[in-house]
């Protein structure tokens, strides 16, 4: 019991929470955008892998850290465009297309990585984002290190939650996005092309997924290796259900999840005699639990996974 309290009292745990949460926040926002406009995007796992690779590669070959983030966003948007073209105008199965995008994006990422680094026993590292203490605020005891001594992309992710919530609920664009996810026929009747709204929104969401991947290599691990995404994309898909498709709750879900992840990591070293694999299973089992609890209350966007064909009902 005292072990648990010791872990909970350590600043290190709480500092880690926002760092672990950042890729989940970005990825969850990306999935949320896609699903709010009516399209499931199972491409996230692969888009994150590609974002991680291209972000790392940009910086490794001499680019700026922000250039790495931009490259990841651009590539994410490109994969998003591919997913959107196949699922929206063609109306192909969103499950299968998304999985295809994941397999394609991740295998191309590994291919390009192996071209760049043909043989290396340990993956080459880059100089990652450094923590950026916010003046004044970072001096507050406990809250300073926990909230205000993070890396720049973490602040960006937090700001994005607010921006996205504002855009979705307070702008005509957001109204069009939400409406397309609920009733694309009504959108068409308003003189807005639901197909274009879907394509654009999926690209934006997928760009966020790319950035989520780039955070892994440019702020969390500072190197790339295959299979590094480790199901984080799938966890984001589960978190969107947990968040009931709302940006604020997505932040809450990602932070809550990251807290459990940081906690189990510390528990692994603190508790003897329990196989470490049991702790590593916890994040996945928690996501399933969250899905089960929330699936009951979930108000799914009405047109999710319904392809829209003009003139067809």
């Amino acid at each position: 019991m005292s072990v648990l309290l010791d872990i909970l009292a350590s600043v290190g745990l709480w500092e880690a929470v926002l760092r672990i949460a950042t890729p989940l926040i970005l990825g969850t926002l990306g999935v949320l955008l896609c699903e709010r406009v009516g399209v499931l995007n199972l491409g996230i796992e692969g888009i994150m892998a590609f974002g991680a690779m291209i972000g790392w590669l940009t910086v490794y070959s001499g680019g700026d850290l922000w250039a790495g983030i931009a490259a990841a966003a651009a590539c994410g948007a490109a994969f998003g465009l591919l997913h959107a073209l196949m699922t929206v105008p063609l109306g192909l199965s969103q499950h299968v297309t998304g999985l295809g995008i994941t397999l394609f994006a991740s295998s191309v990422a590994y291919y390009i990585f192996r071209l760049a680094v043909p043989t290396a026993s340990s993956p080459p590292t880059v100089e990652p984002f450094r923590p950026l203490p916010v003046p004044m605020l970072s001096d507050i005891p406990f809250f300073g290190p926990v909230l205000f001594t993070q890396t720049a992309p973490t602040y960006l992710a937090l700001v994005l939650v607010a921006i996205l919530a504002f855009v979705l609920y307070r702008t005509p664009l957001g109204l069009a996005i939400r409406m397309t996810g609920e009733n694309p026929h009504a959108v068409e009747a308003q003189g807005i092309d639901p197909i274009l709204v879907r394509i654009g929104t999926i690209m934006a969401g997928s760009a966020l997924m790319g950035v989520a991947g780039a955070f892994l290599t440019l702020a969390a691990f500072n190197s790339f290796f295959p299979t590094m995404v480790q199901g984080r994309g799938w966890i984001c898909i589960a978190l969107v259900v947990f968040a009931l498709w709302r940006p604020g709750r997505a932040l809450l879900g990602a932070v809550l999840f990251a807290f459990f992840d940081a906690f189990q990591l510390r528990l692994q070293t603190a508790v003897d005699g329990v196989p470490y694999q049991l702790f590593l299973m916890l994040p996945y089992l928690l996501s399933i639990l969250a899905l089960v609890v929330m699936a009951q209350r979930a108000r799914v966007p009405q047109a999710l996974m319904q392809p829209y064909r003009r003139g067809e009902r």
């Binding site: 199972l42 591919l82 196949m86 105008p89 063609l90 192909l92 199965s93 499950h95 299968v96 297309t97 999985l99 295809g100 995008i101 397999l103 394609f104 991740s106 295998s107 191309v108 590994y110 291919y111 192996r114 071209l115 043909p118 480790q230 199901g231 799938w234 966890i235 898909i237 589960a238 259900v241 196989p275 694999q277 049991l278 590593l280 299973m281 996945y284 089992l285 996501s287 399933i288 899905l291 089960v292 699936a295 009951q296 064909r309 003009r310």
Partner: protein, 350 residues
């Protein structure tokens, strides 16, 4: 530009579209090979030669195709009923682990070989089934989306395997490498061809493809499963017991994936490690789609993938093109096949 549904897709188009899709995928993969600085024609030549140009190549390709046929069938039967089982990878590992655990049953080593083999195969299939029944139950009871739960359970299953082969099933003679205790000799599958790794698992996989075809085309269960996939509401009105049908489809799908794992352990490796499967479960999804979910087509699609994987390995050694090109090619053929199948169904009008 708009799309118009074809009244009756022509037979020629239906046959040519998949070939066009494979051709497009190979062309795109060729472009990637060119960026690696290799001669594309030489690379494709080496892939074919590596996979089919020698006795060793052919037996290796068939060995590789064996688990792929089974995981492809697992995905195909589930998808046809709109049960999105993406958990083939985890079910594969549970099947493999079950064989290794079952090998410890006292008396198995002394049992006659056919009994031991059959018992191990059944154990593997049951383990795969059990893992898939969790998300199926959650779906039926709570309405939880099975896509995400099956995906997440893959990671749980592999961690469980890792835990067992470092714990209760650890091989003490493996010099510290985490691997499971070996399967007793009586439970190993017989070799099919001398001096090769090809084993009787291939025959089991082929038999399963025929059995699944029979189940789907000639039984009430097959008809119900298809009805549930085409339109669940209409099927329910017509009196199809949806819940029971989905559970049965889940048993079949999970069982096939578990069987794949069991056969891989009993035919090739003899023990379980956490790198037993080079994504056999995920490849099964691609194979099912390439085969348009047809059980006999799965055999062809699995052979195609096996040729790419085995051939790319030997091409990669010769030319230095990363062997990930195989995964890229297979993923690309999934995407191009989806578009090709669309073009069979619809015509493009301006």
């Amino acid at each position: 530009m708009r799309f118009e549904r074809r009244e009756r897709p022509s037979a020629a188009l239906t046959l040519l579209a998949p070939l066009g899709a494979i051709g497009a995928a190979l062309a795109l993969a060729g472009a990637l090979i060119a960026t690696a600085g290799a001669n594309v024609a030489e690379a494709f030549g080496l892939i074919l030669q590596g996979a089919l140009g020698s006795r060793l190549g052919i037996t290796e390709t068939l060995t590789r195709a064996t688990p792929l046929i089974l995981t492809g069938l697992a995905a195909a039967v589930a998808f046809r009923a709109r049960l999105w089982n993406i958990g083939g990878e985890g079910q594969f590992y549970m099947g493999a682990l079950a064989v290794s655990a079952f090998g410890l049953v006292p008396g198995l080593a002394a049992a006659p070989a056919p009994v031991a083999v059959l018992a191990c195969l059944v154990a593997g299939a049951l383990a795969g089934m059990a893992l898939l029944l969790v998300p199926v139950t959650l779906k039926l009871r709570f309405g939880t989306d099975e896509v995400v739960t099956t995906l997440l359970l893959n990671f749980v299953a592999i961690l469980f395997v890792s835990m067992m082969i470092e714990g209760a099933l650890r091989d003490p003679l493996a010099f510290g490498w985490p691997q499971s205790v070996p399967v007793p000799d009586v439970a190993l599958l017989p070799q099919l061809v001398e001096r090769s790794r090809l084993h009787a698992g291939l025959l089991i996989a082929l038999a399963m493809a025929v059995a699944v075809w029979w189940l789907q085309e000639r039984t009430v269960f097959g008809m119900r499963a298809r009805a549930a996939g085409l339109n669940a509401r209409a099927a329910a009105f017509a009196g199809v017991p949806l819940g029971r049908t989905l559970v049965l489809v889940g048993c079949l799908s999970g069982g096939l994936a578990g069987l794949a794992g069991a056969i891989e352990v009993m035919g090739v490796k003899g023990y379980v490690t956490t790198d037993l499967s080079p994504n056999y479960g995920y490849s099964g999804i691609v194979i099912a789609m390439l085969a348009a979910l047809h059980p006999i087509g799965v055999i062809g699609a699995a052979l195609f993938s096996a040729v790419i994987f085995v051939g790319a390995d030997s091409m990669s050694r010769a030319l230095g093109v990363p062997s990930y090109i195989a995964d890229v090619t297979v993923a690309l053929s999934l995407l191009t096949m989806l578009v090709a199948l669309f073009l069979v169904q619809f015509r493009v009008r301006r």
